[in-house]
Symmetry: C2
Subunit: 254 residues, 2 copies
């Protein structure tokens, strides 16, 4: 008798930004797998089992959760943000793809959530109002040459760029190098948004031009959004600046 694996996203952190669908999945599940700060967001009941783990080891965690679900349990895999964006849904699918046949019989329910770039964008205006991309800066999962090639191409394409996993203790130089690469393609005036912990009590949002963007403004909880040449800043007296990318592409005519 096969069970269920819910793969849920808590959203950016505040309970007010987690969907009722995810809250219902959490209420139904018996066993919870995930990085411990994400599990801490859930206020689980005493009868619900926590199997917290460190930030890495996503595939091991997915396999452990699938093993329990295949044995009949109602299991919940917890990601921050949206589980499909640089998070656990891909690790679970990979484990099913490569694992024993019975894992394909598990009922898999993925609930979408508000991913970090959307939460940061909402707090500053509408920087993602035109075409954009999301790129993970972690070179644990792909070669750095692939990342640099992608950054050049998307900047040349005029897309706004959201960078996930911009920096960590083990990857201290990649974000500064990414800014250097982008300064070779984009105007120095393009706004860069450092959005940390959007929607949480320790939120910190800063905007600076690409020419002055400093990688030390980011930490592991930061999503960095780099505007396109079309992105604009609106100054407001007594209120934070707004940053938005117009719906219309003006191009050289602007």
């Amino acid at each position: 008798m096969s069970g269920t694996l819910y793969v849920v996203g808590t959203g950016p952190g505040s309970a007010a930004q987690m969907t009722p669908e995810t809250a219902e999945a959490v209420s139904q599940a018996q066993e919870f797998f995930g990085y411990f700060p994400y599990l801490d967001r859930l206020n689980l009941r005493p009868d619900q089992l926590r199997i917290a783990s460190d930030n890495r080891e996503e595939l091991d965690r997915a396999q452990a959760a699938l093993t329990r679900a295949a044995a009949g349990a109602r299991v919940c895999m917890v990601s921050g943000g949206d589980p499909g964006v640089f998070a656990m849904a891909a690790a679970v699918c990979e484990a099913i793809d490569k694992g024993p046949a019975e894992w394909k019989s598990v009922d898999l329910v993925v609930t979408p959530g508000v991913t970090a770039m959307l939460a940061v964008a909402a707090r500053i205006g509408a920087p993602l109002g035109h075409d954009f991309c999301a790129i993970s800066l972690s070179d644990n999962l792909k070669p750095w040459e692939v990342i640099t090639k992608r950054l050049k191409l998307v900047a040349e394409a005029g897309l706004v760029i959201a960078l996930y996993n911009p920096i960590s203790k083990a990857r201290p130089w990649q974000l500064g190098e990414a800014f250097e690469i982008l300064r070779g393609v984009l105007p120095a005036s393009v706004p860069v948004i450092f959005g940390r912990a959007a929607g949480r009590p320790d939120e910190r949002i800063a905007v600076m031009p690409l020419g002055e963007a400093d990688a030390s403004c980011a930490d592991m909880a930061t999503c960095v959004i780099i505007g396109s040449p079309e992105t604009r800043i609106v100054a407001r007296e007594g209120k934070p600046d707004l940053v938005y990318t117009p719906r219309f592409y003006a191009g050289d005519s602007q």
Copy 2:
């Protein structure tokens, strides 16, 4: 005495996918502006005023809402999905940027939501599990040459591509042309997901290889996701196929 403008996203359509934060903003507001099917999702109270409008005319709608908010009302601008992704937050920011000074004093509160590509991705597995982009195929807002250039560059970059606004009565040929362009860059085997009305009762999700992708499978309510060369399909007996893009980039070594 300046009022408040909430700019909210209902999510894909089901109330279970709208955040409590958005529900609270809706509860606080007195006057509602938006495309009428989005307003219909909200179950407004009799004391709440609806100013429904057609799908176009976003800037007019933003100006009307700001006029009321600047006069002291608590106003809500309603988008489907996330208000920051090809939706009303950018139109509101643009109106503030170019409008009278008093509009800059309005309290602007944008609440993020689950955007269509995340809802579609959750229903099929994890196609956005690696780097991806979101491009609007509407050439009302940018020249078609800009769109074709962007499609070529992001395909060359190896990003998964989510296409918003893929087709409409006034824009019948653009999606077919986009598939042609992508077939020139990507393998014919790359999976294409047609995700219509994800999470709603009339949901319809189809997957086919890029070589056979047929634009007539899409309508205005469809988000089209085109995989990268890394994207994989997992067949499951008695269940729909899963589609995911692995976290690891295998490249030519796979």
